[in-house]
């Protein structure tokens, strides 16, 4: 099957506006603006079963439907903060198929009655923002952005906004704070962004990959989209495959593809031909899955992955072979979350701090059994108490690694010698 999202892999110059137009580009946006009511566009997206690709999997059309008609103006914000360890799909879309993404932003804006949209990119995506700025200028010149589009009264402008290195800004309310020029700390919800978002106005926040699906859905219809994927998870998904595989990279596949197919058929198998020991299906935020035959043959859709005690999230599949101990894996994830905790709520700020101290003690081989139990207890106590998902995420790998790989948390002389971060792979 040819690619629907990573279309540049079939049509290398799809990022050029002429090539994009020749391949049906902007037809969906034109159709929406000139022949559909905003509500009809939302209804098509609702009926398509499209769910948010940033990790939460919330139905996109339903999100758009929450925007009230009595508070104005409205905003659309594309979440291009892509900071989850193991996730690198949005960057490829924006670098190589930027116009399809921007057309998706435009359609979302029309559907929700927004005349301004912002693309929030992580600061490290400096060159990607430059590409988008160039494409936005080309779209303005070609009459796809600006005032009175296609001879109607509808006007739209898209702006990029660069972050500056903060994982937390992927959380939608922190992201909105950041666009407003403040520290990226999450807001207490409710009110939700759909009612009080950017500048206190109704705002839809959608992930880059989610929006890139939208032009195809408007063009080809909800039934076509539903025919791809599974009943629970419609459409295609970009799986970011990384870690111990021979061919890491992005793979656009229908939902329902198994872990085994992803790792062995597409990913070329495990590094050094070793067995796969564990899988993290949603990046560093993921519960750690024991990679037995049952897990490997599990279809990757939202509902099926849940039966393994994990989430599909943004489908950032990190493969870990048997050369690595899980205490080292969570040492890495804890360092990450400790660094990225925004400090606003106490369970996350203090919890990640203590988890870091405890995993460091384990790395040094200090009273490993008791320290592991304490680490597990701290992680458990954080759960369901944090202001935003970051705090919860920081505990997922910790509790599941300890519960599912107890043998990896035993005192060993080699561990004592290898130390902490520099310990790297051992075993």
């Amino acid at each position: 099957m040819s690619h629907l999202l990573l279309r540049h892999r079939d049509i290398p110059d799809i990022g050029e506006i002429d090539v994009y137009k020749k391949n049906g580009g902007f037809e969906a946006f034109k159709k929406a603006v000139t022949s559909m009511k905003p509500q009809e566009v939302t209804d098509v997206v609702k009926a398509s079963g499209l769910r948010g690709r940033g990790g939460a999997g919330f139905p996109t059309g339903i999100k758009w439907g929450f925007i009230p008609g009595n508070i104005w103006p409205h905003y659309v914000v594309a979440n291009a903060d892509e900071s989850e360890p193991g996730t690198f799909k949005d960057r490829e879309i924006m670098e190589s198929n930027p116009l399809q993404f921007l057309e998706g932003v435009a359609i979302a804006a029309f559907a929700t009655g927004a005349n301004a949209a912002y693309v929030y990119l992580r600061g490290e995506f400096w060159p990607v923002a430059a590409i988008l700025d160039e494409k936005i200028a080309e779209m303005e010149k070609a009459g796809f952005l600006g005032d009175k589009l296609f001879g109607t009264d509808y006007s739209l402008r898209i702006y990029t906004h660069l972050g500056a290195g903060a994982y937390i800004c992927g959380e939608e309310t922190a992201l909105l704070e950041s666009i407003e020029g403040k520290r990226g700390q999450p807001r207490i919800r409710p009110p939700f962004p759909a009612v009080a978002g950017l500048y206190g106005k109704p705002t839809v926040v959608n992930n880059v990959e989610t929006l890139t699906n939208v032009p195809l859905i408007v063009e080809k219809g909800a039934d076509w989209y539903r025919s791809l994927g599974t009943a629970d998870s419609a459409g295609v998904k970009i799986f970011s495959l990384s870690g111990h595989v021979n061919k890491p990279g992005n793979y656009e596949l229908p939902f329902g593809t198994t872990f085994r197919e992803l790792i062995y058929t597409y990913g070329g198998g495990v590094t050094d031909g070793r067995p796969v020991k564990a899988i993290m299906s949603a990046g560093a935020s993921s519960a750690v899955i024991v990679a037995d035959d049952k897990a490997l043959d599990t279809p990757m859709d939202y509902a099926s992955v849940r039966t393994l005690g994990a989430d599909l999230g943004s489908a950032s599949v990190i493969v870990i072979n048997d050369s690595v101990d899980m205490d080292w894996v969570i040492n890495k994830t804890i360092h990450f979350f400790k660094h990225e905790s925004c400090g606003k709520c106490t369970p996350c700020r203090e919890g990640t701090y203590w988890m870091l101290h405890l995993i460091e003690r384990i790395a040094l081989g200090e009273d490993v059994k008791a320290t592991t139990e304490l680490l597990h207890a701290v992680a458990k106590q954080m759960q369901n108490k944090c202001l935003c998902p970051l705090g919860e995420f920081s505990t997922m790998a910790v509790t599941t690694a300890i519960e599912r790989f107890p043998a990896d948390f035993k005192a060993s002389s080699s561990r004592a010698k290898t130390g902490t971060i520099e310990g790297g792979k051992h075993g």
Binding site: E84, P85, G86, A166, R183, P248, K332, I421, E422
Partner: protein, 164 residues
Amino acid sequence: MLAEKYPNEVKKILAKYPPERKQSAVMPLLHLAQLEAGFVDRHAVVEIAGICGITETDVAEIIGFYTLYHDAPEGKLRLQVCTDISCALRGADEFLAKVCERLGIQPGGTTPDGLVTVEAVMCLAACDKAPMFQVQGPDGIAYHENMTVDKTMEFIETARKEVK
């Protein structure tokens, strides 16, 4: 002064946000301000606070919160190696250690000529192309992917001739 050095850029940045929401411009203005020297100096903080209609403390708070802003000079190039889980599974820790060893510095340190600061950083969304690093410098930010220690040393040698 930003307004004198980059008048067009400042105007473009302000045009992105509603006129009554100038605070939104603080992040793009900080990116602009630190381009040349690699850090935001006191004068820029004062000027940006004035442009955005916020206090100097508000600006300093943003510099402190976001890791890509710096309030003190370091190497002209900041070579930032991702050592998070996916990159580490592909040898990023060893890569960082060897690069530092070849340069004779510790992670976080700067070469004696003031050219390069090497730092370990969090995930850069390039997990399939590890070992990798980004370089933060006078031209903004650029990624260097699928790197080896030798290729990195070559990059540094080339930069040593080009960056004054």
